[in-house]
Amino acid sequence: MRILLKIIVVLGVVAAGALWMLSGPNPLPKDTMAGLTGDATRGETVFWAGGCASCHADPKAEGEDKLVLSGGYRIESPFGTFLAPNISPGPAGIGDWSDLDLANALMHGLSPEGQHLYPALPYTTYIHMQPQDVADLKAYMDTLPVSDVASLPHELAFPFNIRRGLGLWKLVNLSESWVMTQANTPELERGRYLVEALGHCAECHTPRDVTGGLDRDKWMSGAPNPSGKGEIPAIDPANLDWSAGDIAYYLETGFTPDYDSAGGQMAKVIAGMAHLDSSDRDAIAAYLKALP
């Protein structure tokens, strides 16, 4: 009996050790950004398509002030409330980050110190980004105003306040594969990139499984609002009968085919999408229409 107990304890320690190892950081190869030079003009498109301002601008900001990425926006979730941090190019933000640091945060959910970041920063989407796009984005963000507003701590209950635990979550939920496996035209390929790598549409429009990861079998089929109030509508072809032109126009102006006007968090998404070239909005519409 004593021996059995010892074995169980040893096995337990080994398992815990394995979990600990598995939950460790997995940074990008050090040469990921080698030789890449950022282009701020291209980076502006990445910025608006990625919707960074939706979360990182001051929630009360309007117009040009949305470019001051001082943080403070509250993201309610079943795990607690996340507060978007200051990511402006100064000491209170990410002024001293390298391109590789930003790539690790966006594509692998890691801080420069190797700590796991919470998936409230949608790196399950940004993992698909091209390193060149990260370099361009960084070049653009470096041109934005500095804010010295301090980032606020998240309001999370135990055990969700333990960052290390996120390593396991990432093992289960972080995937490099596309949901749309076949994108046969340049337009569809661009649409897939804009939706699956940058626009993080699925983060709101796709339901989640018990771990809080996206249920890829129910891609874009609508979801309960994580803030607890209401339902985020389905936008897959089975449920949304808008034409591609209607979708593109909605992304540009917020007007539905009935000329009602988008509200909720979608209004913020549209404020970003309105900055894109119309060919990009057409590509997103083509992607949505091509979903199964």
């Binding site: 126009y249 917020g254 007007f255 509200g263 404020a271």
Partner: protein
């Protein structure tokens, strides 16, 4: 500014209505009538923008006279005095989510719904001057107009269920 004042007066008037000693059922009826009226006002916005949007999208042939008329309607609608449309207690928590989509935040102390209303007046006035000036000019004014609707809905209207 006159119209802005009309909106700002909402807060003051609703405060008065809140204290007036009217029976519950009468207050209820008044609230429901106000909800119906403001939803109709919104529907009229959408109806007039429907023509402008149809032209912008290329579904309806551009016609300067018709576009100007719809844009003038919209501008007039946006300037109507709304002080009786938003009585206190006509939010979706009080009246129910199937009755109204108006969020209680509208009546909070830090509410800036009056500014949102002013932004619509501005965008609709800009559309009034743009709509008759050719299709490109109309198209250009649609974006800011949509933004002015969306920016109020974002904060003060319950998202879709």
């Amino acid at each position: 500014m006159k119209y802005g004042l009309g909106l700002i007066a909402v807060a003051a008037i609703t405060a008065v209505a809140g204290t007036a000693a009217i029976s519950d059922s009468n207050a209820d009826k008044a609230a429901l009538a106000a909800v119906k009226a403001r939803q109709s006002q919104m529907t009229l916005y959408a109806f007039n923008i429907g023509l402008l949007g149809g032209m912008a999208k290329g579904n309806v042939e551009y016609d300067a006279t018709a576009a100007s008329a719809a844009a003038a309607n919209l501008a007039s609608l946006s300037k109507l005095d709304q002080s009786r449309l938003w009585p206190q207690g006509s939010d979706n928590e009080t009246l129910g989510h199937d009755v109204t989509e108006a969020l209680p935040k509208i009546w909070a102390a830090d509410s800036d719904i009056a500014q949102k209303g002013m932004a619509l007046v501005e965008a609709a006035t800009a559309m009034e001057s743009a709509a008759g000036g050719g299709l490109d000019s109309l198209r250009g004014a649609m974006g800011p107009l949509g933004k002015s609707c969306g920016s109020c809905h974002e904060t003060y209207r319950q998202a879709k269920n």
